[in-house]
């Protein structure tokens, strides 16, 4: 027993990733043997991961940063995992949100997918989550690249798995653009390796300081390529073209995890690289932060503007994601304590909100088959729970106080002022207003619209299963809880920011 | 020394036949005649080159491998040529004007 505890304590960084990989490997075999257990196995993997996350969090809070050397080889030679406060933050976000989405998926998949591919769905889902966790904790360039590719392919997989031609098209678009993105990232990794000779973040960061004198152009081009790659992946404004199709046509749980977590993890990785690896001098050579800020504000604006004109609810949510990822990048671009806190916190908050909104959209589609916003009139009376939590999510998106969206926007706003860029404060406020324009009519029509106005509104409403309502309620409760008591999350994030 | 000269001569012949193959590939008018050139000349060319390397190398593990290569090329090259010819024939890739069927049974269709 003590051996087991020692193993778990000493090796949880490796085990948390390996759990997902191993369980997903086993899924196809289980599919042909005991089909019903696939969902259980997937949930078991998540529960184990939660357990490991807890242990890691405990270790980090008691002893500080945890490092783990794969195969017992020390960093410059082997692969290193580093778990600091920021990683703990991401791990918690990923495991919790993905578990909730998975619970929702167990019922929802039955009507969105063919029966024989549901086990493949779980396989891809587990791999996606595992890759995201790996991305969050790895401290090695090439390992990061590998995890990025796993995440990219599995993300495309869970889009294309739906029997719908738009899904295939969206998935292909996503695949091609993310291949461009990873190509850029790999080229950039090669350039950085060429001038530093290291693949480990820590060592590369050390070596980059002298290298900046010798090869400034190389490093700048590497930075540009990195930015391009991650901006494609995170769907920031000019390169967001893949996102709306992909996120709107995919099955609802896929949309939830893609919008809620996957694009965030790239923003997170970009943040980590930008602040941990590249030397500070480079920022005096090119105004990279200003560029990020401009892109972020454009993203916020255009995402919101496009969202206003959408008719499909999931498409609207997808465009809203573009706007919201803009907030995260805004936080990165501000690069001060408050701004970063807001940006990073928004990763978590938006994960909760957008996952919940997509899931409730999925629940609406599950129960009524309606996707069009105009047809949602009066739906609130028929399914009060779903529309209630949708209203909570919408309020959080807008940034109404006591929801967690308010907290991150508040910190971002403070960050803009700290940085002396009040223009971006205006951007935040205006975009909040735009959010109102496209979120509130849905809620209003759902609750206060006249049901008798349109004849086709008497659609039979299926009963929402418990497995689908529980995640919705938990996420909504989380939104409210972290809006009213944001203290602990903030402390975690501020400690995380303190390392930069 | 003698061995080296011999292998040099063989090498030159190999290169020569390669060249002939490529010139044939460029000059011949249709698919089938090009196949004639490439199949025969390439096979012999690569044999000769590999053989000259074998001579240079002497009897050892590597030269055995080269020998195996010769055998496999001998197996695969004509087969590939055959596959291409059959495919070209079956999809009616046109032959050069003047191609005739020597067999009487097919005389009437030889006009193309």
């Amino acid at each position: 027993m003590t051996t087991a505890m020692n193993i778990i304590q000493g090796h949880s960084p490796a085990l948390i990733v390996v759990t997902f990989l191993l369980f997903s490997y086993l899924m196809p075999v289980l599919d042909s043997w005991k089909k019903n257990w696939c969902a259980t196995l997937a949930i078991a993997a998540h529960v184990l991961a939660l357990f490991f996350t807890g242990i890691l969090a405990w270790q980090v809070f008691t002893t500080g940063t945890v490092t783990y050397h794969m195969g017992n080889w020390p960093p410059p030679w082997g692969i290193e995992f580093v778990i600091d406060y920021l990683a703990i933050f991401m791990l918690t976000t990923i495991t919790v949100v993905s578990l909730l989405i998975l619970i929702f998926a167990t019922k929802d998949l039955g009507h969105e997918l063919k029966a024989q591919v549901s086990s493949w769905y779980y396989t891809l889902y587990l791999l996606l989550v595992g890759a995201m966790i790996g991305l969050a904790i790895t401290n090695d360039f090439f390992n990061m690249f590998v995890f990025m590719e796993i995440a990219a392919i599995s993300a495309c997989g869970i889009i294309a798995i739906k029997e719908d031609k738009e899904c295939v098209e969206a998935s292909f678009k996503y695949l091609i653009l993310s291949a461009v993105g990873t190509g850029c990232v790999l080229l950039s990794v090669a350039m950085l390796y060429m001038v530093t000779g290291h693949l480990n973040f820590t060592f590369a960061a050390e070596a980059l300081v002298p290298a900046l004198e010798l090869y400034p152009n190389n490093i700048l081009v590497a930075l540009a390529l990195f930015s391009a790659g991650f901006i494609v992946k995170a769907a920031l404004f000019p390169l967001h073209v893949w996102l709306p199709d992909a996120h709107s046509s995919a099955p609802s749980p896929s949309s939830a995890i893609l919008s809620g977590l996957v694009i965030k993890i790239y923003a997170y990785a970009y943040l980590k690289l930008l602040l941990k690896v590249f030397p500070g001098d480079i920022f005096s050579m090119v105004p990279i932060y200003d560029m990020i800020l401009i892109l972020a504000s454009l993203s916020i604006f255009f995402g919101s503007l496009f969202a206003i004109v959408q008719e499909d609810i999931k498409r609207m949510l997808a465009f809203s994601s573009i706007a919201q990822i803009g907030y995260v990048f805004l936080g990165i671009g501000l690069a001060n304590q408050a701004g970063l806190t807001g940006g990073i916190l928004h990763i978590f908050n938006h994960a909760l909100m957008k996952a919940m909104l997509f899931l409730s959209a999925g629940a609406i589609i599950y129960c009524t088959g309606i996707r069009n916003i105009d047809q949602l009139k009066g739906i609130g009376a028929k399914m009060p729970l779903v529309m209630g939590v949708f209203a909570v999510g919408a309020m959080s998106m807008v940034g109404i106080p006591t929801t967690n969206g308010f907290i991150s926007k508040l910190y971002l706003a403070l960050g803009t002022l700290d940085a002396g860029k009040p223009f971006y404060l205006g951007v935040i406020l205006v975009s909040s207003f735009l959010n109102v324009i496209y979120y509130f009519p849905i809620v209003i029509n759902a609750f206060f619209g006249e049901p008798g106005e349109e004849p086709e509104n008497d659609i039979p409403v299926k009963k929402l299963p418990l497995e689908m309502s529980i995640p919705l309620v938990i996420l909504a409760a989380g939104i409210l809880f972290f809006g009213i008591f944001p203290r602990h999350m903030l402390i975690l994030v501020e400690r995380a920011v303190a390392i930069f | 020394m003698i061995l080296e000269i011999i292998s040099l001569i063989i090498l030159i012949f190999g290169i020569f036949f390669f060249m002939v193959g490529v010139v044939g590939l460029l000059r011949f008018p249709d698919v089938y005649t090009r196949l004639h050139a490439t199949t025969k000349c390439d096979t012999l060319g690569v044999w000769l080159i590999l053989f000259s390397i074998m001579l240079y190398q002497g009897f050892s593990g590597p030269s055995i491998k080269i020998g195996l290569m010769i055998i496999f090329i001998w197996l695969s090259n004509p087969t590939a040529a055959h596959a291409i010819a059959k495919a070209a024939y079956s999809v009616d890739i046109p032959m050069i004007k003047g191609t005739v069927f020597a067999d009487q049974a097919k005389e009437e269709s030889s006009s193309w």
Partner: protein, 143 residues
Amino acid sequence: MEDIIIRMISRISVPFIMVFGFYIILHGHLTPGGSFSGGAVLGSSMILFALAFDLEEGHKKLSHKTSTLIETGGASWFVLLGLVGIYAGTGFLANKTGGFPMGVPGELVSGGMIALITLGLGLKVASTVITLFYNLIEGDSHD
């Protein structure tokens, strides 16, 4: 392809290609090559077989179930070998420190975990290549 020449040549060369694929896989730690290249060669041999004959013959050789098992097995084998290192108390994927016998460098049985992983992974890669190819050309005529 209903062609006797191609079939015959394929029948002759497929076993040799397979042995060569095994050679590449097993000698991964001594000469160039390894799991992936060897696996691809193995897979290519099966593709050649499927081209020369037809898909049904290929399926007889390697059914979907078998290939799934090989893929799962190959990847899980990797993870399990990694977990041995954890059991030995050193680290995930530890080789020498994880207690694997090193052998004499240069011999076939050396390198501890390396050869074992390479074998499992090579088979997995072969199976993956074949499955991808089969499924791609099979298209709609699927169960």
